[in-house]
């Protein structure tokens, strides 16, 4: 059981005077916190962009374009068929051009970047 002196000693330990540079110390801590967050954000951003670029290049160079061109023919045939049924099938034909490929690639980049960012953030 703690005697009077031990309690007094605990109090003496807890009664530390305020150091003159306590504000500067606190600012230093805040600065380090902010720097940590900024570094983290940059790392996540860079990792996302890198991942996105890698993913996009993989998509572009993996015969995707040829496959989509093949699919274009099917889409044209489909749109021709649809135009007979419903005249408002311009959407399908618009996306079936080369433009559609780049939209898909762009979306893939965004998706990969987002997924990678989330994974890194979780880690």
């Amino acid at each position: 059981m703690a005697d009077d002196f031990e309690r007094r000693l605990e109090r003496l330990f807890s009664e530390a005077p305020e150091l003159p540079d306590c504000a500067a110390f606190a600012q230093g801590v805040e600065r380090k916190l902010n720097r940590g967050w900024q570094t983290r954000r940059w790392l996540i951003g860079c990792a996302g962009v890198t991942g996105g670029v890698v993913g996009a290049s993989q998509l572009v160079y993996s015969n995707l374009y040829q496959r989509i061109e093949t699919a274009e023919d099917s889409a044209r045939a489909l749109s021709a068929g649809l135009s007979q049924v419903a005249p408002s099938a311009e959407m399908v034909s618009a996306l079936s051009g080369g433009f559609g490929v780049w939209v898909a690639v762009g979306l893939a980049v965004l998706l990969l970047g987002f997924a990678l960012s989330r994974v890194i953030e979780e880690i």
Binding site: F5, E6, R8, L9, E10, R11, L12, F13, S14, E15, A16, P17, E18, L19, P20, C22, A23, F25, A26, Q27, G28, V29, E30, K32, L33, N34, G36, W37
Partner: protein, 194 residues
């Protein structure tokens, strides 16, 4: 809670500031560092750290506390919680620099001569601690400054419990002789004198 102006942080209780900090509000945590930074740095100095090293370790301790802020449940005081983190950080640093084993191997017989506490010279805790060996100082500071139990201190220092207890006992005896002499000496904790 979110949206509190930084200027109003000074009026908030530590637990409220911790809630803000847990929501990622760095300024709220800065206020906590301003309030308790000195106490943490003093503890580290009393454990034997040089001023610059104490500041460095204290900053690391606050950063760790920020990362683990959700673990602080407000059961004890925030200051006590950060002090424990800081004490463990300092011990890890000693261990990393292989200074801890030297301290552990040190006997309790080392005696540093300082002026005895008498009525003519007000003696404070920091002066009194100089009379202790490094190991005694470390053990006493851990148990009475950082609030560790003897068992926790033994574990943190990687020393047998009996060794820690004897360091604490010898340290207390020396402090008692310096801080609470039987006749007339003034017990004076250093307060507000920087």
């Amino acid at each position: 809670m979110p949206g509190t102006k930084p200027s109003s942080f000074a009026s908030l209780h530590d637990v409220e500031l911790c809630s803000h900090a847990a929501a990622g509000e760095g300024r709220a945590f800065g206020e906590l560092a301003r309030r308790h930074g000195s106490a943490v740095r003093y503890l580290l100095r009393r454990m034997g750290a040089q001023a610059a090293e104490a500041d460095d370790v204290a900053q690391d301790a606050f950063l760790t506390a920020f990362q683990r802020i959700t673990e602080f449940r407000g059961e004890g005081t925030f200051a006590a919680w950060v002090k424990r983190i800081a004490a463990r950080h300092y011990l890890r640093r000693l261990q990393r620099d292989r200074r801890l084993s030297e301290l552990a191997a040190e006997g309790g017989e080392e005696e540093i001569e300082i002026a005895a506490g008498d009525a003519d010279h007000r003696i404070d805790l920091d002066e009194a601690l100089k009379a202790l060996s490094k190991a005694e100082r470390l053990c006493v500071s851990l148990c009475f400054g950082a609030g560790l139990s003897h068992g926790e201190a033994a574990e943190a220092l990687n020393l047998p419990l009996g060794t820690v207890k004897s360091h604490v006992k010898r340290g207390l005896d020396k402090l008692r002789a310096r801080l609470a002499p039987t006749e007339g000496a003034v017990l004076e904790g250093r307060r507000g004198n920087g």
